[in-house]
Symmetry: C2
Subunit: 341 residues, 2 copies
DNA sequence: ATCAGCACGCGTCGACCGCGAGTGCCAACC
DNA sequence: GGTTGGCACTCGCGGTCGACGCGTGCTGAT
């Protein structure tokens, strides 16, 4: 029967809600008290038995209440329809806080902070990817006679730098000529086209500039375009300790994993198009050490260009609706700010 | 008697050593077993009674062994004479690991990581201060018609960026002229002189450039020279959980405090001249939340110029000799690399 | 001053027990 | 068939108790 199915789901929802807020197994009696389902506790118990058979909930010990399983959370999240948006005050707070930002770094730092605060969890933001960026400017600065620094400035405000060892002394004049060549070839072009443009540059270059140009091109293409070490900003790790019980003995592991950029990047790999929330619950995470956490992530950027991912990492026992709302809101603002400027 | 004093200190040293490695109160019997002082446990007990009266050690409960107090650690550290340097292998590891660095960010990231690994504690490194730096280059990039980005490149490889709202549309040509003016006035000069030079620039500027130049000057001087938001890199926070017992209930507090830049900067405020280790033990810390930790810090840079501070934060029960050696070694390498390049 | 010996204090650990929460099941009811 | 009150049962939790042993402080001897 449809209605019986519905009530069973209502029971699951109640269990999730109560467990999230009280973090203790919830009993049938507690459900009928706090949520008015219009049935008795015995009926709820029957439903709970079914839910348990189907694997949505479990009981820690024989005579305790039930807690949701990963599968239970999954169903709960999938059926989540009306994500209540943030309050006006919250929206205004975000906006005004982020508007004070001074540069890209600052935007991202403030955003993680905001997100961590809103969700009371660990927040992560990826730096906007370079792949879709337009080159605004390339600077070449001689640091020592045989060493230059390449500075790449893109349209979303990101500034990247690389040391380049030229292997030979170079004159200030040569540096200037290289700089001019690079800029006229690349400015206002997409970084994805850089590889092609740059190889042309090498061919066109006068003999004496060919070697340094080759080295510069290699660094530019290899380390900035093909293998950009995706940077990310982390915040609110203190929130992990909020309920140490949520990470049975593995708090350490989680913290360690979070310090590994590679691992965290994997968590956000799913972030596809902006606006689409991805939720990875417990065991669904591919990363071993993160099996005791849930990850809520989303892509940010404008409608057409995905700039990067952001999200939060927390216990599977988290306030999914609230977290999703916050993540979405922050992604909107970050996207606006980085695109709008 | 001098010799009796000496033995009492030897007892303290033994207590510190044993407590640090076993992290449990150490008994008189254990001392005579592990360290050969040539006296009986009864004698050690007498010494311990004295040490306790003088406040160097304490016992958690009446019939337990002793643990060092902050004052005890202090004495221990003060009398530390021969800091055993790192092993050759370790030195080589550090060197080769840091040499692979790609730019300043990378040097610092690798260094914290290294330091955290060596000490198994939380490592912190301040970005090299701007105040003593030489300006290598200033770049001005128009991001939108009325907005430019100021990029400052200094001789130690640091790259800083600031958005500047000009309040009015500006031509590409004007930007170029401003850039030229800024560079010819500031390049190869100390940032400390920037304020003076820049105010000259404003006066010399042609009327139509005066307004944008003023805005740029303000940002440059105020936000980069006078109030540089001292950035810092943190690593190894996972090590805090290594022994949660070390932070009775306050692990959360410590983590939170570490996320506050201001707080952490205060911890390192003492870092004076390069090469001088500063140790703050427990209650000696001015920061309230850090009273349960010890901070070992040092300045790094060349002989004459202090570039910044670095160090570690850990439990008062830490391996001081080892930590001090590691901190000193890493500071040396970081100083070398940033100065030598 | 050092040391062996001893009595004492006290924290730790395991066993035990009673309580109560929460369940599963059953029989009755709509 | 779905729902409900009732009831017996399970099992974890918290508190008590006692034995044990560790580490100490003290005392008296050297």
């Amino acid at each position: 029967m449809a209605s019986s199915d519905e009530r069973r789901f209502a029971v699951l929802r109640a269990i999730v809600a109560d467990y999230v807020s009280n973090q203790e197994p919830v009993a049938s009696k507690a459900i009928v008290e706090r949520h008015n389902l219009g049935v008795s506790s015995a009926t709820v118990r029957n439903d709970m038995a079914t839910l348990e058979e189907e694997g949505y909930i479990a009981q820690p010990h024989t005579s305790a209440g039930r807690i949701p399983t990963d599968k239970g959370y999954r169903l709960f999240v999938d059926r989540l329809s009306d994500v209540k948006p943030l309050s006006g005050a919250e929206r205004r707070a975000i906006r005004s806080f982020l508007d004070g930002a001074i540069d890209l770094d600052d935007v991202l730092r403030r955003s993680v902070r905001m997100l961590a605060q809103l969700t009371r969890q660990v927040a992560v933001i990826q730096y906007p990817t370079l792949t879709h960026s337009l080159v605004r400017h390339i600077e070449l600065v001689a640091l020592t006679p045989a060493r230059v620094m390449l500075v790449l400035i893109t349209d979303n405000g990101r500034v990247d730098q690389r040391m380049i060892d030229l292997g030979d002394v170079i004159t200030e004049d040569a540096v200037a000529r290289l700089r001019t060549m690079l800029n006229s070839a690349l400015v206002e072009h997409h970084l994805t086209d850089a590889a092609a443009k740059v190889s042309e540059l090498i061919e066109e270059a006068p003999a004496e500039l060919r070697d340094p140009m080759t080295r510069i091109a290699t660094v530019l293409v290899e380390s900035l375009v093909e293998h950009p070490e995706d940077r990310l900003v982390l915040g609110g790790t203190a929130n992990l300790t909020r309920n140490a019980a949520d990470f049975p003995g593995s708090l350490r592991q989680v913290l360690e994993a979070l310090e590994e950029q590679v691992v965290v990047l994997k968590l956000f790999a799913a972030a596809s198009s902006p606006g689409t929330i991805t939720v990875r619950i417990g065991e669904e995470n591919e990363v071993e050490e993160m099996r005791s956490t849930s990850v809520v992530s989303i892509g940010y950027g404008s409608q057409h260009a995905l700039l990067g991912g952001l999200g939060v990492v927390g216990p599977t026992r988290m306030d999914y609706p609230g977290t999703i709302a916050a993540v979405r809101a922050v992604a909107n603002y970050v996207g606006d700010i980085l695109a709008g400027r």
